[in-house]
């Protein structure tokens, strides 16, 4: 099939494209943009946990830093939208190379703890560095024009840009997973010593995957800050890292569409429970427990297992 999409996957992709195309007529576009940003973030996270078996517990650092840098570039340097988003991605990748190089030396829980520690370190930097605006964040970020001349001021204009960024990121991750490189990643996930014995330099593969994932996470953060016109500490907190784990788990680890569905679910919950304040976290906790007890493979994972297709 095209780009190694299987028939069910192609079908799911067409449905997703149709939903992206039609949904803004019925649903508040800004909400959809938020979902797409978090879906992309979750896809990036899923690349690591689902296909390399690395649980990074500090992914918010790359997402949040991407948001800050992109916001700063749009506000203070007046760069165009696509460059802001790319800069966000590059900063995410830059952080990812350094943090990844340190973290992949350990495995399992130690890997997760190192990524968490480094993410907390980033959080501290974000509260203290002057350019982030501390607790106020970077506010009043203009919606920079795409390519310098296509205005992104109307909600629908930036909606299509967000959809574009999301789709490019989504397809890129799909391509990575199904490339020979992706096969090696899966081999590492299944049995690392065997991959080493076959002659693969496992650490290099892990680092590349880590960097790719953080690049996409940075882009997602950058896009979010342009949509909402604000980059703030919320996106760098460890809670944000935890939420993306929940999102991915809920949708289905190691499935292509799982993180997207997960992002739809968690964001919808957050959106409709927002008036109840702190009840959001309580509900999320309950759902997490239910998910782990009743459908461990996540929504998409369970569907895929029932219908015996890979989604």
């Amino acid at each position: 099939m095209i780009w190694s999409f299987s028939r069910p996957q192609l079908l799911a992709l067409v449905v997703m494209l149709a939903v992206i195309g039609i949904a803004p007529a019925f649903v508040y576009p800004v909400f959809l943009m938020k979902v797409m940003c978090f879906a992309l973030f979750a896809c990036a996270f899923n690349l690591l946990i689902g296909y390399v078996g690395l649980l990074s517990f500090g992914h918010a650092a790359y997402f949040g830093m991407g948001a800050y840098v992109s916001a700063y570039a749009a506000k203070s340097w007046g760069l165009s939208a696509e460059i802001c988003v790319l800069l966000g991605g590059l900063v995410g990748a830059g952080l990812g190379v350094v943090f990844g190089a340190i973290a992949i030396r350990r495995q399992g829980i130690y890997f997760s703890m190192i990524t968490l520690a480094l993410a907390q370190f980033t959080y501290f930097l974000c509260t203290q560095l002057p350019f982030t605006g501390g607790e106020d964040g970077i506010q009043q970020v203009p919606r920079a024009a795409l390519l310098g001349f296509i205005s992104m001021k109307p909600d629908m204009a930036i909606y299509w840009m967000t959809a574009g960024v999301f789709l490019i990121g989504f397809l890129a991750i799909f391509r990575i997973i199904h490339s020979p490189f992706g096969q090696v990643l899966k081999a590492i996930r299944e049995n690392e010593p065997r991959a080493i014995s076959l002659g693969y330099r496992v650490d290099d593969y892990k680092l590349i995957a880590f960097t790719l994932s953080t690049f996409v996470a940075g882009c997602a953060g950058g896009m979010k800050s342009l949509v909402f016109g604000i980059a703030s500490l919320t996106d760098v907190t460890w809670q944000a890292s935890g939420e993306i784990v929940l999102t991915t788990l809920l949708g289905g680890l190691g499935t292509i569409f799982g993180p997207v569905i997960g992002a739809v679910i968690t964001n919808t919950l957050e959106f409709y429970l927002a008036p109840f304040g702190s009840w959001v976290t309580v509900t999320q906790g309950v759902i997490f427990v239910l998910c782990v007890m009743l459908f461990r493979r996540g929504v998409v994972g369970e569907i895929a297992a029932k219908t015996k297709v890979s989604l």
């Binding site: 800004v30 509260t127 016109g229 996106d235 927002a274 702190s278």
Partner: protein
């Protein structure tokens, strides 16, 4: 009789038009609905200084004004911004875009307020601030869709800070909430101390929200050798700082630069007695304030209105008067037009008496310096304040020319 096709069509159209007419008239009579959104902290450190009582006071204003509304109705909606600027900005955006909200009220937390006011400007709606203190909102960050109601950092620094310096407190140490509000309050007070030839020995900023243990900052303050501890924070943080200062037996004078009556209640008079604080509203100030409080106190018995709550009442009333002035259609079309009308009308209500709104969006009322009563002087719960000094409206606020508001022509 010959009936031509044209004639027939003409008759049918006329008939249809006649029958349709009452319907279209009925539709034209459907009154426009104005929505007031109360956006504040309903679960965190500012839940008592704003919170649900702000919603009650806003609804009170709508109720009292309902017979005077000329061809429109008003609804009140509410949300919790959790003290996060991004949450506040996205709720504001959604309210304006999707839910038809015309004005956002309260918005304590200056960081959130700055973000919300930018959204209100972008969408040409109204932001009536009664909860955020930073004087930048009517200064360098001001815009034409914004009005600030009852207090700001400059006025607080002038009143509480000024009185403290006058009483001999010329060396200060600040404990500051680390965001827009805390820094502005510290900055405005520092400027006042310097102009009175006093000095600032140091300051400690703490992360907001989420800090509950102030001991290390209090110890720093004690060892700095300053005479006055300036608290550039508010709500639950102020309560915790003062309580812990008393527990440590801190020997410095405390200047709580922003404090509300609900904070005094939480601290109890034993702890809070003798403190000076500034509000622009107190329930027992005059007949008007007592009348207003009598009307709402049964709805919020555990939290009588402070200046922020009274501001929601007064601001909503004035907002509706402005709609009456320019008409519902014009008001629906442009938030800026409403704000202009609000500025051109003098304000008058039970809570604040007579006042006016300046061109930069600063409303002008007198400010009152109070001292917290001793337990023996108080006649009961809520009888907490002694009036020490009244600053008239002309002197209470930062002069227009010093604000640096971009749209004011000097």
């Amino acid at each position: 009789m010959e009936i031509s096709r044209r004639k027939l069509l003409g008759t049918v159209t006329t008939a249809a038009a006649t029958t349709a007419l009452p319907m279209s008239r009925a539709r034209a009579q459907a009154k426009p609905v104005f929505k007031l959104g109360v956006l504040n902290d309903q679960s965190g450190p500012y839940r008592d200084t704003g919170g649900i009582t702000s919603v009650i006071c806003t609804k009170q204003a709508v109720e009292e004004f309902s017979s005077l509304m000329q061809g429109y109705t008003v609804e009140v909606v509410t949300a919790d911004h959790q003290n996060k600027p991004d949450v506040g900005a996205s709720i504001a955006r959604q309210w304006f875009d999707r839910d038809g909200v015309d004005a956002i009220l309260d918005v304590p937390n200056s960081g959130v307020a700055l973000a919300v006011s930018a959204v209100a400007k972008e969408k040409n709606k109204v932001h009536l601030n009664t909860g955020a203190a930073t004087s930048d909102l009517t200064g360098v960050q001001c815009n034409e869709n914004f009005i600030s109601w009852n207090y700001d950092t400059w006025m607080l620094a002038q009143s509480t800070g000024g009185a403290t310096v006058k009483a001999g407190g010329d060396t200060w140490f600040f404990i500051t909430a680390d965001y827009a509000f805390g820094h502005k309050l510290e900055g405005d007070t520092t400027a006042l101390i310097k102009s009175a030839k006093g000095s600032v020995k140091g300051s400690a900023s703490y992360p907001f929200p989420g800090t509950t243990d102030f001991s290390s900052f209090l110890l720093q303050a004690q060892s700095s050798g300053a005479k006055v501890l300036g608290l550039a924070n508010a709500g639950g943080d102020t309560i915790n700082s003062i309580k812990q200062a008393k527990e440590f037996g801190l020997t410095m004078d405390i200047a709580a630069l922003l404090m509300f009556i609900s904070d005094v209640k939480a601290l109890t008079l034993e702890v809070a007695q003798g403190l000076h604080l500034t509000e622009s509203f107190y329930w027992d100030l005059n007949d008007g304030t007592r009348a207003f409080t009598n009307r709402v106190k049964s709805k919020t018995p555990d939290n009588w209105p402070n200046m922020s709550h009274a501001g929601c009442y007064s601001g909503s009333l004035h907002f509706m008067k402005a709609i009456n002035k320019i008409g519902a259609t014009a008001a629906k079309a442009s938030g800026k037009a409403i704000v202009e009308a609000m500025k051109s009308l003098p304000t008058e209500d039970d809570a604040f008496g007579k006042g006016s709104i300046r061109q930069d969006g600063r409303s002008l009322f007198p400010s009152y310096l109070f001292q917290v009563k001793k337990p023996s002087e108080s006649k009961g719960t809520w009888d907490y304040y002694k009036l020490v000094q009244t600053t008239p409206a002309e002197q209470a606020w930062r002069p227009l020319k010093d604000g640096g508001c971009p749209f004011i022509k000097a």
